[in-house]
């Protein structure tokens, strides 16, 4: 009985993962080598000879590399200031970095349009007024490779920051004290001990930043299309505009897919190197550097970054949402609720998009969490033969850029027997697949932290495996389940990269509507919808952070 149940679960989970991962990737490969007369390599030839395919490739790699370098240059000192110094307002800085982590890049890009569009941009207007410049002069132009790089940097540096700050916090002070006692100057200790210890984290952060900006669609589309150039993602998207060339799009997805795979592998190697495992854990004491007067300089540095990532963009969005014609300095006379009224009561797309977004986010969060619970548990307990295959499949979506998955799903579900294109189902599959690894990693970690003896004790006292799940495992995993659900939910309500290829008019989501409105230049409505998205995001995050007492009790017990 026991064996049968786990076998059935295993089969179902494996089947779901295969459908999620293997089916779209399979169609991607097949389509990329299919022509009108069977097998062909002509798509790949086009890929490497057509200048309109090569240029986006070069722009993307160059911009992403710049983003990665900038992320390291900013995240390392910032992470150090927050984790290891007496800089004031460290908590606030950390919270604001997290806020920029959850800001969808496309929303950030739209906000930066409000700030730095060549003609109307608020910063340009201020600069012109301040320096009495001509109307034709625009010091800032966000519609450029530099603008794209800057915006992508603002919303990817938090990844590098998290890696670095966590690594710095895990270094036990003993390691540095040992260096100091041998006569090393603090700078020598930092250079010879601390830096090498966090180097893997820095590299990992840089790789993630590179990957994020390479695969991002939303911000790229917002900023490149008006400027008339393409990145890899927008070029793929453009191949679905009339006349559609799905086969070329499939081929164009391959370099991105392979590069992502290679970089993630590299990251694994960097982080997995023996001897770099930092021991000590949470309880370890760490030294706090006293900055003296320099702490104000440190704060100014962090403040400058966050000014650009959070304060200015959100200020611009608030401004656009509540003044008559943005951008304008708000006064009592130009404040208005007209945009809010328009979005909620006049815009036809809103009710449908709101409903779709809610249905998709709730559905994706619930399905992904349930599936991740089963798979995560089976893998953490090695409960079935083939658990390692299951684990590999569960992590695989990380290596598939969302837009590539969108292409694959488009190819897989626009043909019989599964004609799902144009329905919410295809969007649901996309969202579940994209967000699944986050839920899976969260839940395997939680499942592994529950001592198997806790379950065995219940078995011996007479509980069946399902009863054990209900009475022991599930209650202990509850906070992890809530957190996983919230992650998926937040990811789903902001998803645009895959949705942009898969939506049709009746299946638009809020993110898609924002994107559409941006093309028509309706900044007020965009700002209202964007802020709505963020209010929901922060509300769900607050819910996730209200960790139930159980976890603390369980942690104390384990310790």
């Amino acid at each position: 009985m026991r064996v049968d149940l786990s076998r059935v679960l295993f089969a179902l989970a494996a089947l779901a993962l295969v459908v999620m991962v293997v089916l779209p990737l399979g169609w991607l490969v097949v389509t990329s080598v299919s022509g009108a007369h069977g097998f062909t390599l002509e798509n790949y030839v086009t890929l490497f000879t057509d200048a309109t395919m090569i240029r986006p490739f070069i722009i993307t790699l160059g911009s992403s590399a710049a983003v990665a370098i900038a992320c390291v240059l900013v995240a390392v000192p910032m992470g150090w200031c927050v984790a290891r110094t007496d800089m004031p307002l460290r908590r606030l800085v950390r919270i604001l970095v997290m806020a920029s982590l959850v800001t969808p890049p496309f929303l950030g890009a739209i906000a930066w349009e409000l700030l730095a569009a060549p003609n109307t941009g608020f910063l340009n207007q201020v600069a012109r007024a301040a320096f009495h410049l001509d109307r034709s002069v625009h010091p800032f132009n966000v519609y450029s490779v530099a603008g794209l790089t800057f915006v992508n940097f603002l919303y990817t540096f938090p990844y590098a920051f998290v890696f670095v700050a966590n690594a710095l916090e895990r270094i036990p002070a003993d390691l540095e004290d040992a260096s100091a006692i041998l006569g090393a100057h603090p700078a020598q200790t930092a250079w010879r001990v601390t830096l090498p210890l966090i180097l893997p984290a820095i590299l990992a952060g840089a790789l993630i930043a590179f990957l994020q900006s390479m695969t991002v669609f939303g911000s790229a589309a917002v900023l490149t299309l008006p400027a008339g150039f393409h990145t890899m993602t927008t070029r793929i998207w453009s191949l679905f505009q009339f006349p559609p060339k799905p086969a070329l799009a499939a081929a164009a997805s391959m370099p991105m897919l392979l590069l992502t795979f290679a970089l993630l592998r590299a990251q694994q190697l960097v982080l997995g190197r023996k001897g770099y495992a930092l021991v000590g854990g949470k309880g370890a004491r760490r030294t706090i550097a006293r900055l003296g007067a320099w702490k104000w300089a440190a704060l100014a540095f962090c403040g400058l970054v966050l000014l650009n990532a959070i304060v200015l963009p959100y200020g611009a969005l608030l401004d656009a949402a509540f003044v008559k014609i943005a951008p304008a300095v708000p006064t009592f006379t130009n404040l208005t609720l007209a945009h809010v009224n328009f979005v909620f009561f006049q815009l036809d797309a809103t009710p449908v998009a709101l409903r779709n977004t809610m249905v998709l986010a709730l559905g994706a969060a619930t399905i992904a969490t349930a599936l991740a619970l089963v798979v995560g548990y089976l893998v953490a307990r090695r409960a079935v033969p083939g658990w390692n295959v299951l684990g590999f499949l569960a992590n695989a979506p990380i290596a598939i850029p969302s837009i590539v998955l969108g292409v694959g799903l488009f190819l897989a579900y626009t043909r019989p027997p599964l004609l799902l294109f144009g329905t919410l189902w295809i969007m649901l599959i996309a969202f579940v697949t994209i967000e699944f690894p986050a839920a899976y990693q969260q839940l395997t970690a939680v499942a592994s932290s529950i001592h198997p003896e806790l379950e065995e004790a219940a078995r011996l006292l007479g509980a069946t495996p399902l009863r054990v799940l209900r009475d022991v495992t599930a209650p202990l995993m509850r906070s992890g389940i809530v957190a996983a659900w919230c992650f998926v939910f937040i990811g789903a309500i902001r998803e645009i990269s895959a949705a942009i290829l898969l939506f049709t008019a009746p299946t638009r989501t809020i993110a898609v509507v924002i994107y559409d409105l941006n093309e028509s230049g309706d900044t007020g409505s965009i700002a209202v919808l964007g802020l709505l998205l963020m209010v929901v995001t922060f509300a769900v995050l607050a819910l996730a952070n209200r960790v139930p007492v159980i976890t603390t009790a369980a942690e104390e017990y384990r310790a």
Binding site: M1, R2, L461, Y557
Partner: protein, 335 residues
């Protein structure tokens, strides 16, 4: 009667339990003793039904519980187990932890309350019923684990290194507690440990395991006083293993530390003593421990505290023949 017949368990082709035969009478207290990696915990988990044997079978009272491919699941074996980590559910109070097994058996409420109260009184937990495990000390957690296992009145109680997370004083106290409860409730106890002192203090029968096989089965007195092999003699730790020539034997023999005679002067005629030099002397309060180098061997000796010889001094060692136990020549080598 708990019966194991030729039980084999392999992990990745390597036998971890390698043909164990064992009969444990009802109500006996048996200790499975051995160094880490000897297969004792695997054997316990086979008995509990968490693992399925690759060969052989396990039965209780003539009823077959485990055979290759046919294992009665743990929840239907009428066994209880104390885990090394205690495995108390952190999200349940002491009372809920203890009552869990009774709730699964669908006993009436007042019956559950009565039995929980009785067992908690027996292990002195009555004042802590509403606490969570995280709020208890190690010894108290151990008592909750005991109460939770015993309240369901198991036929067999399995203990997996239950004292290894406690400090020395508490360990001694809990040792006696475990034996006292066994004598009070008379279930069959199988106790896994790597600590020979624990095994001596609690068990009726000690099973010494090595490399997945039984090295020797016997009472504590047997194991300590008459080790059958060098491995047992060394592992149980109460004996020297010396070459036969020291006592005029044709094979290595074992002798307890306190049975070696330590003489500070060459004795008169009669026995042929071995001459040696004191290397180390440790005062233990009620006794002295000596390490003596003699005839190329290192001999450990425990003497009464009055016998006081300085390190470096010459001494003579006597090995009374009736205290020397000839070891089986097959059993050689260390751990």
């Amino acid at each position: 009667m708990l019966e194991l017949r030729n039980v084999v368990k392999r992990f990745g082709g390597v036998p971890v339990v390698d043909g164990v035969d064992l009969m444990i009478p009802d109500g006996a207290f048996v200790a499975l003793l051995g160094p880490s990696g000897c297969g004792k915990t695997t054997l316990l988990r086979l008995i509990a039904g968490f693992l399925s044997p690759d060969a052989g079978e396990i039965s209780v009272g003539g009823k077959r519980l485990s055979a290759p491919g046919a294992v009665v699941p743990p929840e239907r074996r009428r066994m209880s187990m104390i885990f090394q980590s205690y495995a108390l559910w952190p999200h349940m109070t002491v009372e809920q932890n203890v009552a869990y097994g009774l709730r699964l058996r669908r006993l009436p409420r007042d019956e559950i309350a009565r039995r929980v109260a009785t067992i908690c009184a027996a292990v002195q937990l009555d004042t802590l019923m509403q606490r969570y495990p995280g709020e208890l000390s190690g010894g108290q957690q151990q008592r909750v684990a005991l109460a939770r296992s015993l309240v369901v009145e198991p036929q067999t109680l399995l203990l997996d290194e239950p004292l290894s997370n406690l400090d020395a004083n508490l360990r001694e106290e809990m040792r006696f507690e475990i034996r006292r409860l066994h004598d009070e409730f008379r279930y069959t106890t199988v106790y896994v440990t790597h600590d020979q002192g624990e095994a001596m203090a609690t068990a009726d029968l000690i099973v010494v395991l090595r490399g997945g096989r039984i090295e020797q089965t016997g009472t504590p007195e047997d194991i300590y006083g008459r080790p059958r092999s060098e491995f047992v003699a060394r592992f149980v730790g109460g004996a020297n293993v010396l070459p036969g020539r020291f006592a005029g034997l044709d094979a290595p023999f074992s002798i307890r530390l306190e049975d070696v005679a330590l003489l500070s002067a060459a004795p008169a005629a009669g026995i042929a003593p071995i001459e040696g030099t004191v290397v180390r002397r440790v005062f233990l309060g009620s006794a002295r421990d000596y390490v003596v180098e003699a005839g190329g061997e290192v001999v450990r000796i425990t003497t009464p505290p009055q016998i006081d010889v300085q390190p470096g001094e010459r001494v003579w060692l006597g090995f009374p023949p009736e205290r020397c136990h000839r070891l089986e020549p097959t059993a050689s080598g260390g751990e």
